[in-house]
Symmetry: C2
Subunit: 257 residues, 2 copies
């Protein structure tokens, strides 16, 4: 009940921690401590756009992965600084920077959301203009779930192949000049789109390998123990019957505000 | 460029939304709109504990899943209300309730964190006392990653089987009277522990099936398109060589503050 944790380490990473803590990079990072992340730094500047009604895992899954990239800074960004609520309105993540405070990113990630949040983002010309401006200088412009509809509304997917949430594929193809591919993630030039919600984790590992190398991405995969074993095999819409699809959409509709 | 989204729906869930919106339950939920979640309600009250230095995906992966349970409320809880920073200090999630404001939960989830955050939580007697008090009346008490060390420090895992982050397994077994099982999640009575970080999503789907039924859990799995296809097969520590393990721990150590 009173474990002697003072002299012990809960991870077998004591030596690694000690060794790395002596390097200037990590010391500098430690020095920033609890400040909001800076826009500069030696590693990639990763910006994740939040808007009212996003789905929680869309930004947070990739953030978990990408924050482990060497010297990366991950910054949550929204029209205004402050708490931004998810589609269920239960949870809020803090936007550390407003759009106006960000003048360049190496990686932009646009998450998806429910109908309300996605449609509002697609119609928000301040947001779309900012996405276009960032995209001009990113190394990678990425999306998760219906985030690809927002990229499309910003005009970035013109004539490209992309993926999106399974239930939004028809809408994406019929509304924009985009070829939908039913894959976990799709790369088209410097744009990488991911399928629904949880696909952002797979996409982020792929992106990590593009930004660094396969060995670094594998180390991050092990660092987050990503050896998925869902208790059911129900996550692929192309294998699901109409009843399960309907139940899935009902569960989304009922949980969203 | 100017999609006519007004009369269209980005998800093929229009009919479902319309149909469900007429039921009292959903209407009530819609009425709460953007307010912080209430502690009451018709569905399960799910409380997720945040503490300084948790790992982002630990609480947010399960929150994404559990927030889709019928009429569920998911509430982020911490010692004090307000923003609580992750182990990398890049991201903060808002705690909507303080410990003192929560008098009962159907489901308690304790996330894991880096060394610093986990050790501080294990030594925080206010936190441990609260966890014990909640546990007395929960239907399910759960953890992700090193969150099981916090449950153990609270005395809840005495004589039980449990899992934890792969690199913390030795510590868990040598420090507490716990048998570590190298599984994605382990149920022992009403306690369910998950392996590292991303395992929380698998555990939450299992938990969803326990709280409701398999069909509901499957619908949630499809709702979040959880058909994992990581680009590498590197997430299982028991298949990883010592070099990859070392790199994974270094990537954690370097990214944490």
């Amino acid at each position: 009940m009173s474990p002697s944790t003072t002299r012990r380490n809960v991870l077998r990473g004591t030596l690694a921690t000690t060794a790395l803590a002596a390097t200037p990079t990590v010391a500098a990072r430690g020095g920033e401590a609890h400040a909001a992340p800076a826009d500069g730094g030696a590693g990639p500047r990763i910006g994740i756009l939040l808007y009212d009604g996003y789905s929680l895992l869309d930004p947070t899954g990739p953030a978990e992965v990408l924050s482990r990239l060497p010297n990366a800074t991950v910054t949550m960004i929204a029209e205004r600084r402050g708490a931004v609520r998810t589609d269920t309105a239960d949870v809020a993540v803090v936007a550390e920077r407003s759009l106006a405070e960000v003048d360049g990113l190496d990686v932009l990630l646009v998450p998806g959301g429910g109908n309300r949040g996605t449609l509002a983002a697609m119609r928000n010309h301040v947001l779309l203009r900012w996405i276009r401006a960032m995209h001009r200088r990113t190394r990678w412009t990425t999306s998760v779930c219906t985030g690809s509809l927002v990229l499309a509304a910003a005009g970035l997917l013109e004539g490209r192949e992309a993926t999106t949430y399974w239930a939004s594929a028809d809408y994406l193809q019929s509304t924009f000049d985009v070829t939908y591919l039913p894959r976990r993630y799709v790369r088209s030039g410097k744009i990488v789109t991911a399928a629904g919600v949880s696909a952002g984790v797979d996409m982020a590992l792929y992106l990590a390998s593009l930004i660094t190398d396969d060995e670094t991405a594998k180390a991050i995969q092990l660092a987050i123990e990503y050896d998925p074993q869902p208790p059911f095999d129900a996550g692929n819409a192309s294998h699901a019957g109409p009843e399960l699809r309907q139940r899935a959409l009902e569960s989304l509709a009922a949980s969203q505000v």
